[in-house]
Amino acid sequence: MTTLPIEPVSRPSQPRWQVLLGVDRSDRIYRQILTLFALALPALMLVLLGVLFVSALPALKRYGPSFLWTSTWDPVKDVYGAAPMVFGTLASSFLALLLAVPLALSVAIFLTEFSPRWLRQPVAFLVELLAAIPSVVYGVWGIFVLIPFLRSSVVPPLKSVLGWLPLFKGVFYGNSLLAGGIILAIMIVPYIAAVSREVLLAVPVSQREAALAMGATRWEAVRSAVLPYGRAGLIGAIILGLGRALGETMAVTMLIGNRHDIGVSLFAPAYTMAAAIANEFSEATTSLYLSALFEVGLILFVVTVVVNAIARWLIWRVARGTAVGSRAL
């Protein structure tokens, strides 16, 4: 065997050792181009934050933090306080979580632990499909199917049994906190379910085997070995769902009633931050009005960023590095 036919494959201007190490000039250029693309993401983040902040500055200066707990929103007098929307956003999101979490976790547990093999793919596909339905379509369904259904078959029994609770007092308006919360719940079930499923799939089989070998029933194995192992990730999945619910716009705008009110009753109309922007942005006649809406956007953005960051951190602790949930998008 004679010498191997290694000839310099690139420009002779480069020292031979660089060529042998594979440090090629074209490689550097390639890497720089890709880095440029990657830089787009952090840049985008900064730009979003910057634009919102600068546009919100007049309102920020005028009201300071009291913007959050002032409940007057009067474009005629040019006075703005976001308390009703903050309340409505939180109330509708928590109502949605309350309804969605048991359903979504059930789907995840069913798919990973109890389901016969042949049923896994179809159910997972159906749930993914639920995530693919556009928000406006949920809105239309809510207006023409959900609200009439609530009016005819859900609200009357609720009133007759639990009508003494302030939650269920008053006239059912149709477009209400209840309708908005329910549609949000249906919308976030697939996200929470998909991420939870991936978290549960990341739980080692040995966890289950160990529990079962010690005589646990199937449910006990799930409850004592699988769920605790994936707990951080499951909480992450739920928080991820919360993030979705907080920022969801169209369906909520179409169903929640859009009234600047803070009411205890689920039957009364409410407002959310995203809905306020959607409804009023194009009507904002004064610069302070516009700025107030940008401040609402800024608050929404910062809150969802924080919520998502917490969620990702929790999920990464269980399923490190994988883009959990990205397939559910």
Partner: protein, 282 residues
């Protein structure tokens, strides 16, 4: 069996039942929505629906030809802007993303993925509509592209990471430069997955409404100019669904069915591409 063991098994059975029941309810919601969509949408669709433009409010008839074309144009333009950047960023994450900067990009992508789309809409408005002084389809496309980029970056990364390292090593051992290996071997092997990611991204932005409210705005007439307001199916559904006329509601259902069908077809195409490429791996 002792009473204790009996109780434990009973609880197990009971909880299994609850889990199955809840899963059933979650799937039922989907079946209900799709069923309603089919029922109410299909009865409202006719040939005019696809070929005619909207008629003035209160009149019957008319279609949404302008919205269907508009959706195509706005989404295609958004993909044109978003796909290169998103896929490029994803390639970076897969090839060089091991360090601190890679971690940052990955984290930002995940966080941006959860950003409310309405917020991106008002930023698009600030950047394009305000300086140019008029609403435009282009502004809508840019907003949708922004929505798409973080999603694509993450799915591309995931797909490229599935390529076995031995392929990369083989190419490098044959004297390929790294960039060549990356493009000709790694990216090519992952192409099916990358295309799937792009299709899923496109399916998602095709249904978006919120970022278009203050950018593309909507248009009652047929328009092909990206410098002017343009109608999309999603905007049309919003206007018709919340409007007061019976006829509008009919058109809203029909448009919703068409939009859902569009999203579904793209999603199924995405699945099909993956299956072609990876067979049983995924």
């Amino acid at each position: 069996m002792s009473a204790r063991a009996f109780r434990r098994h009973l609880v197990s059975r009971l909880m299994t039942g609850v889990v199955v029941l809840f899963s059933f309810v979650a799937v039922l919601a989907l079946v209900l929505i799709l069923g309603n969509l089919l029922l109410k949408g299909a009865t409202s669709i006719n040939w005019d629906f696809f070929t005619k433009n909207p008629v003035p409010a209160g009149q019957t008839g008319g279609g949404v030809a302008n919205a269907i074309v508009g959706t195509g144009i706005i989404v295609a333009l958004a993909a044109l802007i978003g796909v290169p950047i998103g896929v490029g960023a994803g390639m970076y994450l897969a090839e060089y993303g091991g360090g601190r900067f890679g971690f940052l990009v990955r984290f930002v992508a995940d966080v941006l993925n959860g950003t409310p789309s309405i917020v991106i809409g008002i930023v698009g408005w600030t950047f394009i509509v305000r300086p140019t002084g008029h609403f435009s389809a282009l502004a809508g496309s840019v907003s949708l592209a922004i929505l798409m980029i973080p999603m694509l970056a993450r799915t591309t990364e995931e797909m490229v990471r599935l390529v076995p390292n031995s392929l990369r090593e083989a190419a490098l051992a044959l004297g390929y430069a790294r960039w060549r290996t990356s493009l000709k071997v790694v990216a090519r092997t992952a192409l099916g997955g990358i295309v799937t990611g792009c299709l899923v991204g496109i399916a998602r932005i095709a249904g978006e409404t919120a970022p278009l409210l203050f950018t593309a705005l909507g248009n009652l007439n047929f328009s092909l100019s990206v410098n002017h307001p343009m109608q999309t199916l999603s905007l049309q559904i919003y206007v018709y669904g919340t409007g007061p006329f019976e006829e509008w509601h009919r058109l809203a259902w029909a448009s919703a069915l068409v939009l859902m069908g569009l999203v579904l077809i793209i999603s199924l195409a995405a699945r099909w591409v993956t299956r072609q490429r990876y067979g049983s791996i995924r």
